[in-house]
Amino acid sequence: MGDKQGMGETEYAVIGGGLVGLAVAFGLQREGRRVTVFDEGDVAFRASRGNFGLVWVQGKGVAMPDYARWTRLSAALWPDLAAELEAESGLDLELRQPGGFDICLDDEELAAGEARLGALRARLGGDYPFEVMGHNRLRRMLPHIGPKVAGAIYGPEDGHTNPLYLLRALTAAFTRRGGQIVSGPAIQDIAPLGSGFRIGRAPGWRAEKVVLCAGLGNARLAPQVGLDAPVKPNRGQVLICERVKPFLPYPTAQVRQVGEGAVQIGDSKEDVGFDDSTTPRVAAAMAKRAVRIFPMLENVRVVRTWGALRVMSQDGHPVYDRSQTCPGAYLVTCHSGVTLAAGHALRLAPWIAGGEPPVPYLESFSAQRFAVSPAA
C-alpha cells in the first residue's frame, strides 16, 4: 500500500502504523488534517498485533492519579470510537465493557490489590470505582471459578475488544478518508528543516509536522527532534486456546474469551530486552494459573502462542510531549494502545492538530517528569 519510501509531502507525518499511530492519524483526519502514516515492514516489533485486547482501567495510575483519570476518560470514550469505526469500516470491534475482574488466588494478593486501589481512590478524592469480592460473591458472577480462587477485584469500567479488528478498522477508516500509509524500511532519520521536517534519508518526505508513534522505535527518533522517549521493551506471552462455547461473560486480567470463542491467556511480564520469543516455562506457568482460576480449562487445547513487547517508559505511564526546540514535533507513546485508543483519537489528536490541551493535567505526561525525579 502506498508509495515506496521516497519523495512526497504531507501536512502531518505520523511515524508508526500501529494502534497508537493510526489512532492519532485518524484523530488528525477528523480535525481536517492531511496525514501520512509511515509504517515499518513486518520485521517490526508489532505490539499492536500481539496484545491482549483489554480495555482496562483498574490498577492503572496507582502511582500517578492523572494516568488513572486519563485511562478512565478513554474507556468512557471507547463506545464513541467503536461506533464511528464500525460505521466507517463495517467491522464489529467486539467491544464489551461489562466490567472486569482481576482474579486473586490467595488472600494476600487480594488484600494487596485492595490496598493499592484504595490508596488510589483516596488520592482521587473517592472518585474511583472498584469492588473487592470474596470467593462466594465472585462465584455468583463467574460460576466457573475454581475452589482455590480467593476472590477478585471488580472494576466496573473494564472491558475488552478485538485488537486486530481495531487495527484493521483504523486502517480502513484512515485510508478511506484519503490517508496514505507508506510501508517500508523503518524511518531512522528525521531532520528539522527551516520549516517542517524531512522524514527519512534525503531526499525523503517533507512534512509540516511530525508525530512520533513508533513504539520502541521512538527512543532513537525522539532526540532528533528535541524530544526524549525513554522506553524499553517488556515481554508478554499469550496463549490462544481453541474456540469454545461462551463460558466467561466478563474479561479478567488473566483470562478472557474473545468474541469468536477462543480463550486467551496471558499476564506474563518479563524484562528480556528485544526478544519476543515464547518459552515453555512461562507458558506452562500461565496455563497452570488459568486452570486454577477456571478448572474447566484443564482439557482445552492451546493452539497458538506468541510473545510481544510492551513499550514501557520508566514508570509505565504514557509519554505525551511537544518539542520545545523543534516546533511541530510531537511524541505519543504508551503501553496501552488499545485502552487509550479512544483518548488518542478523540482527545489527544485535536491537541496535536493545534487545539487546546484536552485535559488540564496533560503536562503530567511530559517526559520532563523523568528529569525532575530520577528516582521514580
Partner: protein, 108 residues
C-alpha cells in the same frame, strides 16, 4: 451408499483392514490411515461446521496445520483428524460449531 470420493487408494497390500464409525455410518479403513484420510476416501466432504459463521468445512492440508479437519474422536472434541491414526471401532463425529466445556474435576 456409493462411494463417489474423488480420492482413490493406491493398490497396496499388507495393511490390515479396520472399520470406524462416522456418525451412524461404518467406514472401511486401513491400519495406518489418518482419520481424515479414511473419511475422505469414503467420500465424505463435510466434517465440521465453523464456530463463527457455521460454514461447512472438510480436511484440507492433511499435515496438522490448517485445523480444518477438526472432529470429535472417541468423545474428545476438536481433534485434528489428520493427525490421528484410525483404530478398530473408533467413533468419529463431525465437529458442529464450538466445543462446550464441562465442569471438570481439575484441581484438588
Amino acid at each position: 451408499m456409493p462411494n463417489d470420493s474423488p480420492f482413490r487408494r493406491l493398490p497396496e497390500a499388507g495393511r490390515r483392514a479396520v472399520t470406524i464409525a462416522f456418525e451412524d455410518r461404518t467406514l472401511p479403513a486401513l491400519e495406518g490411515d489418518s482419520v481424515a484420510a479414511a473419511i475422505l476416501a469414503a467420500g465424505i466432504a463435510t466434517t465440521r461446521h465453523t464456530p463463527v459463521s457455521g460454514a461447512p468445512r472438510g480436511p484440507f492440508c492433511m499435515m496438522g496445520v490448517c485445523f480444518d479437519c477438526l472432529m470429535e474422536i472417541d468423545g474428545e472434541p476438536n481433534r485434528q483428524a489428520c493427525m490421528v491414526e484410525v483404530r478398530e471401532g473408533m467413533r468419529v463425529r463431525p465437529m458442529m460449531g464450538a466445543r462446550g466445556l464441562s465442569e471438570g474435576s481439575a484441581d484438588d
